[in-house]
Amino acid sequence: MTIVAIVPVAHIKAANDALAESFGPNNFSVPAYGGTGVTHAALHAWDDPAFLAALQAIPNVVVDDGTRPEGQPPASTDPIIRTKELIEAQGAKWGAQAPMLPTSGNAIAGTLYAFDRNGTRELWYCIQTFSRSTYGAAPETYPALIRRIRVPGTVAAWVQPLDQYDAYKLVNPFTGKPDECTFGGFTWYVTQADGSGNNVWQPGVFGWTKR
């Protein structure tokens, strides 16, 4: 049986560091999201007893090796289903499997949606159920209803953050590196932030350096 595992965002670095020497870097690489951004990182691995033992020895990591108690239905053998189940069991959402934001009918509160913008896939978290038939413009039109979730490690056009949750990070807890963006024809990365490590300023104004 294959292995799925997940770790809260605060412990990603420690978990990946613990695995790095014997199993390579960044084993936890799949971001899972809550309403304000990344909350966890997950992984799926094919059957590997040594890797399973190493995962089980790391604090704060939840591991599902596919075994189920007597009388329970067997675990699915589909990696996608197993990974999705474990992510959702932590109250998080899997961005890669997010449904498309509907163009009609209701967008449902608590759902992470994908939105295609000129071929680029964005993630948006629905705060409050609303009708896309009525409120059908681009999602940033309705900040009280739906908010953008940035995908860690991607370099996209800079967008004015609304608050600390979608602020650009001096050290992104998922990647361990400064957030990056594109602005004015350049790629920028965060080099200064407020006391909480957040940068809400426009590149060129404060705290950004051209790459």
Binding site: S29, A45, S76, I80
Partner: protein
């Protein structure tokens, strides 16, 4: 030797090896596409000699269901470069002086002995000739002896961090091969470290611990754009699994629901109801069943009872029932059928009405039915008094994925694959593939320089198992985000039955999208790109199915990593790759490449 001269030498070697192609000549191989020094890759998962479980090329892939951390590019014939190490001439003076070790020349070998308590890195050699920055090199050496209680230590670096470390066991002299990918920096030498170790570290070795190293140490370039993955969770596995069932020749290992299963001979079993009024049958939960189309196939024969049902185990699940005395289908989907075989046997095909994940409904069952059963009987609710002297014979059960659009009547009867467990199954005659989990698996090369061409040909034998999320078969420079790039996707967009080839120069992407390709689907996909000529085409099993002639802008393709099974920022492939050829040139005649790939993929063009 410059890159061009090396390409010519390799082409020449290939020509000598192959002896020409044509009537009476050797079989065509994709290496012939690269004889003029074209940039690109060719990966062949059917060739075990090209795959290793670790990115350092230390542990070969020897069986199916092993992870693949390194896949060698075969386009240059895996012809090794010149010797940059030592033949029988390794001398004490070749080692960089280090007072922490003593060296002893023992004739055919050199003993390296730990001399002090604070040694850390092992004793160091620099390759005899300059190595090629950024290239892969194959390092071969032999440890001829290790002192009791110690292990051997080896590491390789080109000036930066060590690339690979292995520990060898005392009393087990062996020869070793490592494949080292150098970065672009370093001092032009490959630096090798050897020495005794304990507890997986040279710094733990005790004074007096030693290893004896053969004087033959080989360092040779391994030309090619090899693909690797250093992270355990992200390695694909090699597989040849087609039949999703297990215990296909051990019906007694299936769940026995008021039946007894007895082996008659070989794969042939008799399934008899117990003497009880009950619902009778054998049940199994398939491994690896997927959302999408499947066919359950088995061979059955009457042996006292002449009616049989095969289907999903839940009450409303798909089932089909057959009368083995007349060879007719009593009830079942239009795509379910019964085909006569010699000696009273029938091959039964059961095609589900719905295409659900069978693991969620308890799996599949085979049920002997008594004579009172009719077309309206629901076998999952049908209870009767069994006669243990009667039964049905069963052999060769299998559950295989097929496209939802493909009818049974046009599908070739799948050849039977014995499956005992997830790692014990027949592999001979079944296509081998790299299995990508759709979560985090992928391989990547170093940078491949396509800046000299604006033409591209991609031929892939691939399976996509789901249309739920975007999947990338191959990606170079991420055309979704960057100019001068190309990619092959399956599917192109989430929840669509699509596959596509995307190419672009400085302008917007030109997508050739085929929208009638519902998962699960295995096919030979060919992407053809031409930036200045505004060409973006997709061929499906040798037939052009989509094209775009939109303006792609200008320029050539890029110097970037090639990702296999994802693009840099995600979109992992949920599926398999049987064969992959990427050629940085236009390919006038695709017949051979597509036929070769089809053969390796198990599809018919």
């Amino acid at each position: 030797m410059g890159a061009r001269a090396l390409a010519k030498a390799i082409a020449s070697a290939l020509a000598r090896q192959l002896g020409g192609v044509g009537a009476g000549g050797p079989a065509w191989t994709p290496a012939l596409l690269f004889q003029s020094g074209e940039q690109g890759v060719w990966y062949d998962p059917s060739d075990f000699s090209t795959m290793f479980q670790d990115a350092a090329g230390t542990t070969p892939v020897t069986a199916v269901e092993q992870p693949v951390g390194l896949a060698l590019d075969k386009r240059l014939g895996l012809v090794r470069g010149i010797e940059r190490g030592w033949g029988q001439e390794l001398a004490l003076s070749d080692f960089i002086a280090n007072a922490e070790y003593t060296l002893t020349d023992l004739g055919d070998r050199i003993r390296i002995t730990r001399a002090t308590t604070n040694a850390t890195t092992g004793l160091v050699l620099d390759s005899k000739l300059a190595v090629v920055a950024g290239a892969f090199h194959e390092v071969k050496f032999s440890i001829l002896a290790i002192s009791a209680g110690a292990s051997g230590f080896y590491a390789a670096t080109n000036g930066g961090a060590a690339q690979a470390i292995s520990n060898f066991y005392p009393g087990a002299p062996s020869s070793f091969t490592h494949i080292v990918k150098l970065d672009g920096s370093g001092n032009g030498k490959l630096r090798l470290s050897f020495g005794p170790a304990r507890s997986a570290s040279p710094s733990n070795a005790l004074v007096g611990d030693y290893i004896e190293l053969s004087k033959t140490i080989s360092v040779r370039e391994l030309p090619g754009n090899h693909a690797f993955q250093t992270t355990t969770a992200q390695k694909p596995v090699l597989s040849a699994r087609k039949n999703l069932l297990t215990n296909t020749e051990e019906f007694s290992a299936w769940t026995q629901e008021a039946v007894t299963s007895v082996r008659i001979s070989g794969a042939e079993w008799k399934i008899s109801p117990t003497a009880a009024t009950a619902i009778h049958g054998v049940k199994i939960v398939p491994a690896g069943a997927r959302i999408g189309g499947t066919i359950f196939v088995a061979e059955v024969k009457a042996d006292g009872y002449s009616k049989v049902s095969i289907g999903e185990t839940n009450q409303t699940g798909t089932h089909a029932s057959f009368d083995l005395s007349s060879g007719t289908k009593m009830v079942g989907s239009a795509l379910s059928q019964i085909v006569p075989l010699p000696n009273g046997w029938y091959r039964i095909f059961v095609r589900p009405f719905g295409f659900d994940d069978h693991t969620g409904v308890g799996g599949w069952c085979i049920r002997p039915l008594d004579d009172a059963a009719t077309a309206s009987t629901n076998p999952n609710l049908y209870s009767y008094m069994g006669d243990p002297t009667k039964g049905i014979r069963v052999r060769y059960p299998q559950l295989v994925a097929v496209p939802t659009s493909q009818s049974v009547t046009t599908a070739p009867s799948p050849s039977y694959q014995r499956v005992n467990t997830a790692t014990d199954y027949d592999t001979v005659g079944f296509p081998h593939y790299l299995k990508f989990d759709g979560v985090d698996d992928n391989l990547a090369t170093g940078n491949i320089n396509f800046t000299a061409t604006d033409k591209m040909t991609v031929v892939a034998g691939a399976t996509k198992l789901s249309d739920a999320a975007i999947g990338y078969v191959v990606d170079h420079n991420s055309p979704q985000a960057n100019p001068n790039a190309f990619a092959l996707t399956a599917p192109q967009t989430a929840t669509t039955a699509s596959m596509a080839f995307r190419t672009r120069g400085s302008g917007a992407p030109a997508d050739a999208v085929y929208s009638s390709a519902a998962a699960p689907l295995t096919a030979v996909l060919t992407g053809i790109g031409g930036i200045s000529s505004y060409v973006s085409k997709l061929r499906f099993n040798g037939v052009e199915v989509a094209n775009s002639s939109s303006d792609q802008g200008v320029g050539n393709y890029s110097n970037a990593q090639l990702y296999i099974g994802k693009r840099p920022s995600g979109n992992h492939l949920n599926g398999n790759i049987y064969q992959l050829i990427v050629r940085g040139a236009a390919t006038a005649d695709l017949t051979d490449a597509e036929a070769f790939t089809a053969g390796k993929t198990g599809v018919t063009l």
